[in-house]
C-alpha cells in the first residue's frame, strides 16, 4: 500500500526541500520504491538538491495538463535505482495546479511507488493546500524559533481541516521534524527548547536534525545529505527519523546533550 507523505511547514527556509530529499533518499536506501514530488511550482528547488536539474524535460504541470505522460516526467536518480523525482515547473505558477489534476497524478503514482513524498511550497495558499490534500501523513518541519513554530501550528490546523482525510472525518497522522537545531545556541537560551516546541505543537516528534555545514555542502554538490555523507550527524538523524517513520521504535536523543553536560562542568571550572 503506497503511503503519501507531505513535507510542510508554513514558513519558508526551514528545511522542507532538504528534508524531502534526505528522507526520500533514506527510504530508497532501504529498498523502498520512493518518489519525491516538487509542488513548489514557479520556485522549484528539489531538482537542485537532488542533483537532477540538468535532466528535467517534463514536469508536474505538463503531466497535469496532459502534455506529457507520467513516466516521461519521472527522473530516476543516478545513484539509487529506487529513487525518483517528479520536478515542478519553473516557468508557471501555482495556479497551474488543479485539484483534479493533482488527484490523478497522486493516484497514478500510488500504483508504482511505496512512498510518495510531496515537498510543499511555503505559505498556506493553493500550492501548499494542494500538496497536503491527498496525504496520508504529514511531516511538519519547524525550526526551534517562535515564528516557525507559530506557522507550523497554523499548518497543523489546516492539515486537520483542509485535507481529504480530515473531510472524511479521519485523523491525519502528523509528525514533527525539528531542523536546524543548534545545541550551542540552545545552551545559551537563544533558541526555543525542544520541550517548549513539543508543548506548543503537541504532535509526536519524528526527529531532531542538528544544524550542520554538512547540509549546505550536500546541497551544493546536488546530493541529499543522506547520500552525500551517510556518516555525518544530520544524515544519521535523518536515517533515525525514517526508521521512526516506518514504525520502528528508535529513542530520540537531543543533539549536544552529552556535550552540554561536559560543557557545564568545564564551563564552571573556567569561570
Amino acid at each position: 500500500m503506497a503511503k503519501v507523505v507531505v513535507v510542510t511547514s508554513g514558513k519558508g527556509g526551514v528545511g522542507k526541500t532538504t528534508s524531502t530529499a534526505a528522507i526520500g533518499a533514506a527510504l530508497a536506501q532501504r529498498n523502498e520504491r520512493t518518489v519525491v514530488v516538487d509542488f513548489d511550482v514557479g520556485l522549484r528547488n528539489l531538482d537542485l538538491v537532488m542533483g537532477a536539474e540538468r535532466r528535467v524535460v517534463y514536469d508536474l504541470v505538463n503531466v497535469i495538463q496532459g502534455d506529457a505522460k507520467l513516466p516521461q516526467a519521472l527522473i530516476r536518480d543516478k545513484r539509487l535505482e529506487t529513487l525518483f523525482l517528479l520536478p515542478a515547473s519553473q516557468t508557471r505558477d501555482k495556479d497551474s495546479l488543479t485539484p483534479e489534476g493533482v488527484e490523478r497524478v497522486i493516484n497514478d503514482l500510488k500504483k508504482h511507488f511505496d512512498w510518495i513524498i510531496c515537498d510543499s511550497p511555503a505559505g498556506i495558499e493553493r500550492g501548499a493546500t494542494l500538496a497536503m490534500r491527498h496525504a496520508d501523513m504529514a511531516i511538519v518541519v519547524a525550526n526551534p524559533e517562535v515564528s516557525s513554530v507559530r506557522d507550523s501550528d497554523r499548518i497543523i490546523g489546516l492539515l486537520d481541516s483542509k485535507t481529504l482525510k480530515a473531510e472524511l472525518g479521519e485523523r491525519m497522522e502528523k509528525h514533527l521534524l525539528l531542523t536546524r537545531y543548534d545545541s550551542m545556541r540552545a545552551d545559551r537560551g537563544d533558541m526555543l527548547k525542544v520541550d517548549d516546541v513539543l508543548e506548543i505543537l503537541s504532535i509526536p516528534l519524528l526527529g531532531i536534525i542538528p544544524e550542520s555545514t554538512d547540509v549546505l555542502r550536500a546541497s551544493n554538490i546536488g546530493a541529499p545529505v543522506t547520500l552525500a555523507d551517510n556518516r555525518s550527524a544530520p544524515a544519521m538523524a535523518y536515517f533515525d527519523a525514517v526508521r521512526r517513520l516506518t514504525g520502528e521504535p528508535v529513542p530520540i536523543a537531543i543533539p549536544g546533550d552529552r556535550r552540554s553536560l561536559f560543557g557545564k562542568i568545564f564551563g564552571r571550572r573556567a569561570a
Binding site: 498556506i124 517562535v146 507559530r150 506557522d151 501550528d153 497554523r154 497543523i156 490546523g157 489546516l158 486537520d160 508543548e199 506548543i200 503537541s202
Partner: protein
C-alpha cells in the same frame, strides 16, 4: 479624518418580546384580540411584539393588512418570525429567527384566547432572571491552532488543550482553558459582564470581557505562565492567580 480615537463598542443584548401567533380566519382572530385588549387594557402598549407566521398561509398583501390592523390597535410589530422571504419587503418589520421559548406571559383577567407566548429574540443573559434554562456550553477536546477561531455566542466554551498564539476563542459566556492560553480569549462577547476567563497557564495575547480588553503588555508580569482567572469589575478587568 478620524479624530476621535475611541473605538465603538458593539454588543449583543437580549430582550424579552411578546409573540403573537395569529390563526385563520384573520378577522375572527382580530375580534378575539380586541376582546383580550378590552379585558386587559394597555397590554401591548410599549411592549415589543413579534409576529409568528410560521403556520399561517397568507400572502404579502394579507400580511400587510394584518400589520395595519394591528397598528390601528396600537400593537407595533418589531419583527416577523417564520416568514418566507417573499412575504417580506421594504417597509415591513425585520425577519427574526433563532428565538428561544420562554415562559408564557401572564395576561391579567381570565384570558384563554388568543394564546400569547413569549420568546427571547437573542441569546440569553443572566439578567433575565425569570427565564430558567440550562446555559448552553460546548467542550472542545483539541488544541485551538494558530489561525483558528472558535466562536460560540450562545454560552460557555471549555477547551481541553491549549489555545495557540494567533488563535482565538470567542464565547457569549465564560471561557475555560485547560491548557496554556497563548492566543486571544473573548468572554461575554454578546454583552455579559459576569462572564469570566479561566486558564491553566496565562500567556495570552489579548483578553476581553464584555468588550473591555487587555493586551499582553497590560498584564501584571507575575501572572505570566500562571493559572489565572479574570473577571470584570466596572470597567476594569481584574485578575488573580488560581491555586
Amino acid at each position: 479624518m478620524l479624530t476621535d480615537s475611541r473605538s465603538i463598542r458593539i454588543k449583543g443584548r437580549s430582550f424579552l418580546a411578546v409573540v403573537l401567533s395569529p390563526d385563520l380566519p384573520l378577522d375572527q382572530w382580530l375580534v378575539r384580540l380586541d376582546d383580550l385588549a378590552a379585558r386587559s387594557a394597555g397590554f401591548f402598549l410599549d411592549r415589543p411584539v413579534v409576529l409568528d407566521v410560521t403556520d399561517l398561509t397568507i400572502d404579502r398583501k394579507q400580511l400587510k393588512e394584518l400589520i395595519e390592523e394591528l397598528g390601528k390597535r396600537n400593537v407595533r410589530i418589531m419583527g416577523i418570525e417564520g416568514a418566507r422571504p417573499s412575504l417580506l419587503g421594504p417597509g415591513m418589520p425585520a425577519a427574526m429567527k433563532g428565538g428561544r421559548p420562554a415562559s408564557d406571559f401572564e395576561v391579567e383577567a381570565t384570558a384563554q384566547k388568543p394564546v400569547v407566548e413569549t420568546v427571547e429574540v437573542m441569546p440569553p443573559t443572566p439578567v433575565v432572571a425569570e427565564v430558567r434554562m440550562p446555559t448552553p456550553s460546548i467542550i472542545v477536546r483539541e488544541p485551538i491552532r494558530s489561525g483558528q477561531s472558535l466562536i460560540f455566542p450562545e454560552g460557555d466554551v471549555t477547551v481541553i488543550g491549549s489555545v495557540s498564539s494567533g488563535a482565538e476563542v470567542i464565547a457569549g459566556g465564560s471561557v475555560h482553558i485547560y491548557g496554556a492560553l497563548r492566543g486571544r480569549a473573548l468572554a461575554g462577547s454578546v454583552g455579559n459582564a459576569s462572564a469570566r476567563i479561566f486558564c491553566r497557564k496565562l500567556e495570552a495575547e489579548l483578553l476581553a470581557i464584555d468588550g473591555i480588553y487587555k493586551t499582553a503588555d497590560d498584564l501584571a508580569p507575575d501572572l505570566r505562565g500562571k493559572a489565572v482567572q479574570l473577571w470584570l469589575e466596572g470597567e476594569a478587568i481584574m485578575a488573580e492567580k488560581l491555586i
